[in-house]
Symmetry: D2
Subunit: 416 residues, 4 copies
């Protein structure tokens, strides 16, 4: 058996911004025996997860569930609504926006990139006014779609999607709005219908607390309509047949049954808890971790407090300190995995994931791992981040156990 | 939790030709904690499964491992080696060959179908001489690829791939040979390199004994060369970046970690056992099940004994008997899932899977479930299939326990 | 890792009369993280399983749950209600009654054994009239307890416990009634309160479908009263402190938490299904297996049809045939474990378990394994047992899937 | 299914001094299918775990493995070597020594208790000179056994067993030495043979990292000899039959198979790592946690640094602070379970477990949970315990990942 023997004792701290730690409850659900994907039981499972995912995306319209990764779901969104050579406006907030652009280009689309220049550009969210301005200039309506990333996993910036919608509307432009919420969904507030998103793209391995292996598209009626006319070659990712067969809980080709068991369990957990509580929990964790980074005196990668991510926090290391060497030291000494700096910011920052199946003490431990590692690497810190995160969590109750007297008091989400 | 509560007690008999029953050992392996797909441990896992899959395909060349289904792997094969509008020769042996053709057409390829006409056509394997003849006629070499299905899951026919290779060579034709061995791999003899296959396509949920969710492409140098010139739009399925990153055990986008744990375990099981033993085991099971069908006096769907499948057996029901009604009765009364007749043969036959993690008593039980169900449905049977399969297994030792005196004698695979 | 590598492929058929196959659902429940046995969550678990086990034993009085085996629970029953040298009447129906007597003797009790002589004696149930007669003769009331085995695992005889109660009452004798229902509980009809049992003894690894490791005592008020005066040394097994602490869901010493998770799940399964359905299911299976043995022309170990066990069937092999050699052959060739002949009947019979998490096809397969093995061992059989069990199950619906139209018809338990 | 729903998100911190957290690897091993405890596979498992446990106890003599708890193993030790009314010398180091005495008394033994008086008495280990003195005074050799606790779970004191052995030898007294190492084994240094222990008693749920449910006795030849003459009634716990049957890997009554799977896995983990590394790891953790308690300015329950426990640390709360109210607050706010004060010290202290499957960050988190809880409860602390434990772990490498460059340097166990 392949074993994770690198970890000599105790539990690894998987604090990357996804895959996030998979709860035992979900791992157990995934170990149910595989069933006939054409049998009656499967239809019940299919209908359940399709309905649950509508609740998670906050949509009344169809959600596509693919065996695949988030990258596959990016491709699915594009090939269903666009035609070869179509002009697409993409906003680069970080490395994943960059990669999505690269993928669109490979598929033969003509992409145009907005965004602030240089590494500094990756410290901000989408500036919706730039989109509005660009669309207004496109009086011929040659732009067919606007693509933005909701929660930029590479930086820790959560852009304001409702503002992007308003920008498109203000420009009276017919472009479709495609949003990558791969790392945002089920951790950060997200509203497919209310925000007027046409295709929302997501994956299983972040807020949904599953292993990787499922990609999602949530659709709007306008997107479905567009797909009827779009001419990009497509088969595996094609929506039409899937929408039809999903009505009875089945798929055109073989779905990934055991991950769907896990998805069903994840949705049970999230929906029983309530998405608003889930979002508040992430906001509170994020505030605690940021308090620690600020106490260290290190810059947060996201330069704009209005768009701090509730999912992850990017930490910039001082000039001359190789962030990856620090990460490696923390991994080897304290059995804690952190996210690397990607693309333009490689070696200049690391990322702390605070999403999914986590809690206060796990995050205090993570901050402690970072603090010990930074010090061992010779980084001079202004103060104790561990003290700061403890102070934050102590001052802001929120992670109370169910059924306890304290839990009955209203939880006060703390976002500062 | 979603539960499989339809099954009131005991273990369901999942006797469809895939997904096949997943061994507990693999389900347990899949429940290892998810790790960082960019961390050092993951690289070791990646290198291991990539090497193991070469041994399974019997190739020295790269194997692509995708989060996706077999259908996705069909698409991957086509979009990597072909250009829009390319002419492709496909041989229709059954419903899955038909579906692959449909997918190719959707992707904008110009397909030409060979095969015998009507439902009777689905009772035979690939006639390699027809391919040879057709390719010889294509003196302009307009045909870019020949697509055949190795083990046709809808009928129980295992075509002779080496013969197809010889046919292409005899025609001196440069077309690529693309082979779907989704349900054949790791159950029926398969030799990617020796048979000169250019792209072999497979999936996880059959002979590999995993849940669905992984698609495979095994490549030849000629296929890799072709992919450099092919112009079908591709990104998610693109080989080039994957071949490059796989060298160190990583993937361009997020791989489905927990299924890879399972894949590693499955390969350990299959390779420790030895593929020749695995193939012999399937042949012996198939011979036993066919003995039962013959004792019932019912026709086997595959009309040509030379290409009987070791993986599944199609059973034709007498005129006037709805095969699906029989299947439903067997499912409801005896908790046993069988494969339905697909496409042209819907309602006219059912399929018994005898693949993967199975053994003699499980197959005797399956035959018994079929026999009881057929009788309860009013079908008159010529004789006892259960007696026939018992006689076959008794007369042909083969499923011996390891470490026992009997197991030390040479197992004699019996192929009837 | 220790692996069960003897089994090369497929699922082992564990058809001994306990431990019975543990459903995946229970194995999964047992893998919940271990919790603090003094914490608030544990108290809820404790109260739940204590209440559930009352329903299983059909009692309103306390049930003791021990980390231990059934043998430990035998000891617990004796040391709580008896004093050194006490006179105990034991009825020998088979090897387990014999072993219980041996244990009582080792503990310093004065045992007196009733029962028919010789190996033939082990083919019958308890003759309650002999107990009545003996108790009437004991005018001094020197006999303190009557010990009988409900379902004799070594023979397949299920004695009539209500008749034993009536016998004691008819004799107007104050002796306590102690009943071993280790292999009977949750498979055969059992009613602690209604039948006036003073201490019922059971274990986890039979009808409860759990791994071994829990022993049970169900008590009557009279037994509790007796325990206050009894003077056998006792500590670990002592009821008093346990009764007290169990009121809030806790135990005096460390309970075996993860098996209790499994117990909770098993009780959920059994009580949701309904004990009467569970009992009818076992009766139907037993009738099918007996039909097979009768078709073979081999004697059933239990000579009295009125007390045939619904849990297991003993099969006597012809003179000169070593039953253990047959068992070994079946194990090695067909991966099926059967029970050995114990004590007086060693080598003369084998036992087929048909209990717990089983179903029709599993039992047909088991009968097929026996039939093939007997024939390979050279035993001449009168007819086809497999045909007989198939005919029985076909003629008597009963194992219907839930939620199907057929399941809505009333199941007709068939007991002959 | 019973669920641990009290924990809304993330992983519970189970920091009681046992049951300790069970590694996933062991939970997975425990979910192997239950096998026939009389079949050939089981014999291999039995021989393996019996041999492994000799290595863990560091003995060449038989080890008894019982389905039962540590309490059962206490009883087993006493009833095998003693006779009714025997005089036993017990040393009270804390609540578990007190409970063992209570159990011995219930079994009818005449116990005599040594130890320092009052709650202060529970802050020290065994004073071997007092034992020597007492035994020298027993010139009639009426004392049959000396009972001491190795690692007192209620206080965090690890007594010097070798010194007790020397004391008995110095007194030239034939009394047997019985040692409870329930919470010491596989975490603290222990040497059954070298220290001349006659019966070592242990359980599964501490250093062995298993769920509760197994009790152990390790024997000496002298103990086995004594058991032949001892007359306490015994059956379930009787060594003689077990020693005999264990020779081939089997047990007289049904062993708890699935926990034995877990035991096999635990032994694989511990022995592959090496017991000396395991002990050093615990010493290092304990030193870190004590550094934190000292930084808080709170007294450690163990008043003698020479016998600080590597397994747990008792923390005394200031006069007027209810330790249990603090524990409850930590549990409800930070999802962390701590040990309560038992018996004489109830409400006056709490216990932090640092044993088994743990690591640096987990312990930093635990200290953080305590520190936040103490502060929220209004306890004034002298300084930051979290800083102290971080400083300790940073200054003393030791928990390095395998296969990393750093791990190849010699780990330096740090014991303060």
């Amino acid at each position: 058996m392949f074993t994770t023997d690198a970890h000599p004792t105790g539990r690894h701290f998987l604090q990357i911004p996804g895959p996030s730690p998979v709860p035992d409850r979900i791992l157990r659900a995934m170990s149910l025996p595989t069933i006939d994907h054409r049998g009656p039981e499967f239809g019940r499972l299919g209908l359940k997860v399709l309905a649950d995912m509508k609740a998670i995306f906050k949509t009344r319209h169809p959600v596509m569930i693919y065996p695949g990764s988030g990258t596959g779901a990016w491709e699915a969104a594009l090939v269903n609504v666009l035609s070869p050579g179509d002009h697409v406006l993409m906003y680069e907030t970080g490395h994943f926006a960059f990669l999505w652009n690269q993928l669109a280009t490979r598929l033969g689309l003509k992409t145009e990139v907005l965004g602030l220049p240089g590494a500094e550009g990756w410290r901000h969210g989408v500036h919706a006014d730039r989109i509005e301005q660009r669309l207004k200039a496109d009086s011929a309506h040659s732009i067919k779609a606007v693509c933005v990333v909701h929660n930029e996993t590479s930086t820790g910036v959560t852009s304001d999607i409702a503002a992007v919608r308003r920008a498109i509307d203000a420009a009276k432009h017919p472009a479709l709005l495609l949003v990558d919420t791969i790392s945002g969904l089920a951790g950060a507030d997200y509203r497919h219908d209310e925000w007027g998103v046409d295709v929302s793209i997501s994956g299983s391995q972040k807020g949904l607390m599953l292993p990787p292996g499922i990609g999602f598209n949530a659709l709007s009626p306008k997107a479905i309509e567009a797909s009827a006319k779009a001419t990009m070659p497509r088969a595996y990712w094609g929506w039409a047949e899937m929408i039809e067969m999903n009505k009875t809980g089945y798929w055109p080709s073989t779905p990934n049954t055991n991950l769907l068991y896990g998805l069903s369990e994840a949705c049970d957990m999230l929906l029983a808890d309530g998405l608003e509580r889930v979002f508040a929990r992430h906001q509170r964790w994020a505030a605690g971790v940021r308090a620690a980074v600020q106490a260290w005196g290190l810059p947060i990668q996201c330069a704009d407090p209005a768009v701090y991510s509730p999912i992850l926090t990017g930490v910039m290391t001082p000039e001359g300190v190789d962030a990856d060497a620090v990460r490696k030291l923390i991994y080897e000494r304290f059995d804690c995995s952190l996210g690397t700096g990607l693309g333009k910011v490689k070696g200049r920052m690391f990322r702390i994931g605070h999403l999914g199946d986590s809690n206060d003490l796990t995050l205090v431990a993570t901050v402690a791992g970072c603090e010990m590692g930074l010090k061992l690497a010779g980084v001079r810190l202004a103060g104790s981040g561990v003290q700061a995160v403890m102070d934050h969590f102590s001052a802001h109750p929120g992670g109370l156990l169910q059924g306890t007297p304290a839990a009955k008091e209203k939880a006060q989400p703390a976002m500062a």
